[in-house]
Amino acid sequence: MSDIVTLQDVYKIYGKVHALHNINISIASGEWVAVMGPSGSGKTTMMNIIGCMDTPTKGSVQVDGTETHKLNGAALTKLRREKIGLVFQQFHLVPHLTAVENVMLAQYYHSMPDEKEALQALERVGLAQRAEHLPKQLSGGEQQRVCIARALINYPSIILADEPTGNLDKVNERIVIDIFNQLHKEGHTIIMVTHDPKVGQLAQRQIELDHGQLVYSGVV
């Protein structure tokens, strides 16, 4: 299968800190990869580089056929808009917009808002009834599902999730993981940071970082 993400000799250096140190990995299209490692090991830094929110200090990065390490801010934004779906640990919903409006926001900045399609996306994550609710009226699990619906709305090539279950209880973790399972079966490429080995085991492949270096890659 073709690789959708390739990192070659990637470094990200902040002053003396090597947040990423000589990273080489390829991720195939349709693969579900879990990124693990202790706090401060560089997981988020790597996700930002793959997610076109940051560029490496050194090395080359390819995302869905585009060399992102050469791009300027606007081109990076455009690529992010087209290819990446982002799921955050803190959900990051706009507090004054309803669930459906939060989903439409992604459509608006991508192309055109379409309320019907946004409602369908909420239905997929089981939130059709909560479309008109504000984030503060939703539970953490429900907020995360809105966030997933928003990440999916523009048919991204890659879904990046940084600790999507980090703020959830067991029940909601289950629901969210089931959704990712479903997405994986449908053929989505998923890269997910997690601290939880059980969640990590659900992925096809585990990657482990430590002090910015890749220390493990493979099935547990």
Binding site: T44, D54, F88, P95, E101, L105, Y108, Y109, H110
Partner: protein
């Protein structure tokens, strides 16, 4: 979607928004007060310069007594010299007749009302006059003294005993429209008492307490048919220039060409000269200086207020800058999210600009309202008149206040542009 976002995000952080509105309203208040006052008072002063300020006063010529001290003229008979009312139409026959807007003759005397001495003036209110050319002209206090504010009716210009009483006096005598009261006149034949009926109460701006009656009635009562003491003339005039000043210094110094030019230009002095030619035995003088210096004070006050407004607007801009930057920082997660979802800088900036625009509009409207109120206070206390509503002020104030809003957002724009989604979204 944009408006949906704008609407909802506008209702966010009400305290900050309110503060921003107040900040803008502050500048807008001053701007609208200054504009209202300037436009209206400017108009009023212009009107007065035309009708009152450029006025001429025509009086019987003074005759200096031979025993006078040098340089001082005393004319003990000044009050007993008159202009003949029949001659007045001649004022409309001079070279610059079309510049004569109208005139008001008057004849005054002292009368007693319940032992109080009061000035009684006979005058024209809105008199129909036939000029030798056959044209008719309506003129009198009503058209010349535009600042008179009459509550009730103007008396008719005939010999009915109708009176217009000045406000202060009406209060003092406790009389109102429709009331009748007795006045004691002193005539050449002795004292006599007549009844007057109040048809209107007039506020003339000056706080004299006097009474105005039809000229004909007073002439009849005093037995001074056809006699007036002075005539105020309203003329459109050309501003003075070097020639006018030279003529004012010494008319005889002009060459005949210069004299010709001077005579055929509507300087206030040449009109006065022509009136003196038209009516023998009178002296016509310009009354302009007063209004001119009023105009000067006014423009100084306007300058001061304009400076104050500029300062207020600038401080509004600075205030909005602070509030906007604070609001951008407060909402950095939201902005970071927009960017993470693929928004470029411009759409995010537009959102904040649009908010500033709405804040500017609301602040501008509020400020306009308060400012108009302030204008009334300024008008009452400085110029002792109310300030008229000028529609033009509203768009200007709104333009200024939205401008303040937008300018105030500019400094926050840098913060928006610099904001990196990766940094804010991971809480670093």
């Amino acid at each position: 979607m944009f408006f949906r976002m704008l609407k909802k995000s506008f209702l966010q952080g009400k305290k900050n928004k309110l503060l921003a509105i107040v900040t803008i309203a502050f500048g807008a208040t001053l701007a609208s007060a200054v504009l209202s006052v300037s436009l209206d008072i400017g108009d009023k002063v212009n009107k007065e310069l035309k009708s009152y300020g450029a006025n001429l006063i025509v009086k019987p010529e003074m005759e200096a007594l031979p025993l006078d001290m040098p340089g001082i003229k005393i004319d003990p008979l000044a009050d007993q010299r008159y202009i003949s009312e029949d001659e007045l139409p001649n004022i409309k026959m001079i070279f610059w007749r079309n510049n004569i807007l109208g005139f008001v003759p008057s004849l005054s005397t002292s009368v007693f009302i319940e032992e109080q001495e009061v000035k009684l003036t006979g005058t024209w209110f809105n008199k129909k006059m036939v000029i030798p050319t056959g044209e008719t002209l309506r003129t009198g206090a009503k058209s010349i003294k535009t600042w008179w504010d009459v509550n009730g009716n103007w008396p008719a210009d005939n010999n009915e005993p109708e009176a217009l009483v000045q406000q202060k006096l009406a209060q003092r005598l406790n009389i109102a429209n429709g009331d009748k009261f007795a006045v004691t006149l002193t005539t050449e034949q002795g004292r006599k008492t007549s009844q007057l009926k109040v048809v209107g109460i007039v506020s003339t701006g000056s706080n004299e307490g006097g009474i105005f009656v039809p000229l004909n009635w007073l002439q009849e009562q005093l037995g001074k048919d056809n006699q007036v003491q002075q005539v105020e003339v309203s003329a459109l005039t050309t501003p003075e220039n070097a020639l006018a000043r030279k003529a004012a210094m010494d008319l005889d110094s002009l060459s005949s060409d210069e004299f010709e030019t001077w005579y055929c230009t509507a300087y206030v002095d040449s009109i006065a000269y022509q009136i003196e030619e038209a009516i023998p035995g009178v002296e016509a003088k310009q009354l302009r200086q007063v209004a001119q210096s009023e105009g000067k004070v006014l423009s100084k006050i306007q300058l001061l207020m304009a400076l104050l407004t500029v300062v207020a607007l600038i401080s509004s801009i600075l205030g909005i800058s602070n509030l906007m930057t604070a609001s951008v920082l407060e909402r950095s997660k939201e902005i970071g999210l927009y960017k993470a979802l693929g928004a470029n800088n411009l759409p995010v900036i537009y959102l904040f600009m649009a908010e500033a625009l709405v804040i500017g509009l609301i602040g501008g409207l509020v400020g306009y309202g308060i400012g108009f109120g302030f204008a009334q206070i300024i008008g009452k206390s400085v110029f002792s008149s109310t300030i008229a509503f000028k529609p033009l002020v509203i768009p200007i104030v709104l333009l200024l206040s939205t401008g303040v809003g937008i300018l105030g957002t500019i400094s926050a724009m840098g913060t928006i542009v610099k904001l990196q989604p990766a940094e804010v979204l991971h809480g670093r």
